[in-house]
Amino acid sequence: MTYDVPVAPGETADLEERIDGAAGGWPMWEVFVRARRGISHVHIGSLHAPDARSALQNARDVYTRRGEGVSVWVVPSSEISAFEPEAAAEYVEANEKVYRLATTYDIPEEVGQM
C-alpha cells in the first residue's frame, strides 16, 4: 500500500507546507514515560494540548493507554534545550532546539513570554 499517493497526470505535486493565518493552534508537548519501576523515563513522542493538565490526560490516553503504575511527564516542546552533534552544526545557526525551525514553538501572543 502506498502513502506516497501519486500525482495524477495533469496535476502538479503540491509541496506547500504552510497556510497563512492557520496559527493559534495548541502548543506541542513532548511526552516522557517510565513504564515501570526500576527504569528511567523515555521520550516516546509528542502531542498537542492547550495546557499541562490536558497534555497529561492526552499522554496517558495515547501513549500509555492508561497503564497502571506508569509515570508520565509532559514538557512544552519549546522548553527543551538541545545540544546536537557536529553534523548538524552547519545547518542551523543556533542549533539548540530539538526540531527543525521554530514552527513548533508558536506561542499565542496572549500568553506572553515563556
Binding site: 495548541w26 502531542l47 498537542h48 494540548a49 492547550p50 493538565r53 490536558s54 490526560q57 492526552n58 490516553d61 495515547v62 493507554r65 492508561r66
Partner: protein, 248 residues
C-alpha cells in the same frame, strides 16, 4: 433546591416487573451501555485528534462496564441470557437507564455537561457498590471506580475550559446546563445530599449556574423514556434483529 415539579411515570403505567437485585444491576448496565453508544457517535467527529481518542477511550470504558454487568445480570437471573440478549433483544420499555444518558450528543458542550453530571454520580455510586455483599458486583465496581475518576477529571476540566473559555463556549456550556439540568434529579436521587457537592464547585469555577427552574423529568428506571431512546436502540439493535440468532 427549589421544590421540584416531577414529570415521571404516569398513573396507570406499570413499572417494569423485575426482581430488585436484577433491576439494580441492569439499571447500571443500561446506563453505561447507552452512554457508550452515544460516545461512539463522536468517533471521527471530535474537535481534535486528542479529544477523539479521549472520548473513544471513555466510550470503551463504559462499554466494558456494561458488558461485565450484563454478564453478571445473566448469572443472577439464571435463565441463560448473555450480554447480547440484554443489550440487543430488550425493548425500549425494558431498558432501565437514566434519561440523562440517552440525550443526544448535540454539541461538545452538551456532551461534556452530560458526561460531567453522570461522572459525579458514578463517583458516588461505585464506592458504594464496592461494599456490596455481591462479590462480583464489588469487583466490577472497584475497576469502574478508577475509570470513573479519570472520566470525572476529563469532564470537569473540560467543563471549566468551556465555561471559562470564550464567550461562545460559555454560552454553549450554559445552554447545555440549562437543557440537561432537568434530568439531574433522577440521576442524583440516591445521593441527593452528596451529588451537589461534587458538582457545584465545578460549576462555580466554570462560571456556570444551575437553572432556577423546578422542572424535572424521570421514569427511566421504570422503562419510561424520552423519545430519544427508541432511535438509539433501533440503530444499535438493527443487525441483530435483521439477522437473528447468528454468530459474529
Amino acid at each position: 433546591m427549589t421544590e421540584q415539579i416531577l414529570s415521571s411515570t404516569p398513573q396507570g403505567m406499570p413499572a417494569v416487573d423485575i426482581a430488585p437485585r436484577l433491576r439494580d444491576v441492569l439499571s447500571h448496565a443500561d446506563d453505561n451501555m447507552v452512554l457508550a453508544q452515544r460516545l461512539g457517535e463522536w468517533i471521527s467527529t471530535a474537535p481534535d485528534l486528542e479529544i477523539d481518542i479521549a472520548l473513544g477511550n471513555i466510550a470503551l470504558d463504559h462499554l466494558g462496564v456494561a458488558r461485565a454487568l450484563y454478564t453478571h445480570a445473566g448469572e443472577i437471573e439464571d435463565r441463560g441470557r448473555n450480554e447480547d440478549d440484554f443489550a440487543m433483544r430488550r425493548t425500549e420499555r425494558e431498558y432501565l437507564n437514566l434519561l440523562l444518558v440517552e440525550q443526544p450528543n448535540d454539541d461538545f458542550a452538551h456532551t461534556i455537561v452530560r458526561q460531567f453530571f453522570f461522572d459525579a454520580y458514578q463517583g458516588l455510586l461505585w464506592p458504594d457498590l464496592i461494599g456490596s455483599d455481591d462479590q462480583t458486583l464489588a469487583g466490577i465496581a472497584a475497576k469502574a471506580r478508577k475509570e470513573a475518576s479519570y472520566h470525572y477529571e476529563f469532564s470537569s476540566s473540560w467543563l471549566v475550559r468551556l465555561g471559562d473559555g470564550t464567550q461562545e463556549s460559555h454560552a454553549r456550556a450554559q445552554t447545555a446546563v440549562d437543557r440537561l439540568w432537568r434530568f439531574t434529579a433522577e440521576l442524583s436521587a440516591p445521593y441527593a445530599d452528596h451529588w451537589p457537592l461534587s458538582v457545584q464547585p465545578i460549576l462555580d469555577e466554570a462560571g456556570l449556574v444551575a437553572p432556577d427552574d423546578p422542572y424535572q423529568r424521570s421514569g427511566g428506571r421504570d422503562g419510561y423514556h424520552t423519545e430519544h431512546l427508541g432511535f438509539l436502540l433501533a440503530e444499535m439493535q438493527w443487525m441483530d434483529r435483521t439477522y437473528p440468532g447468528m454468530a459474529w
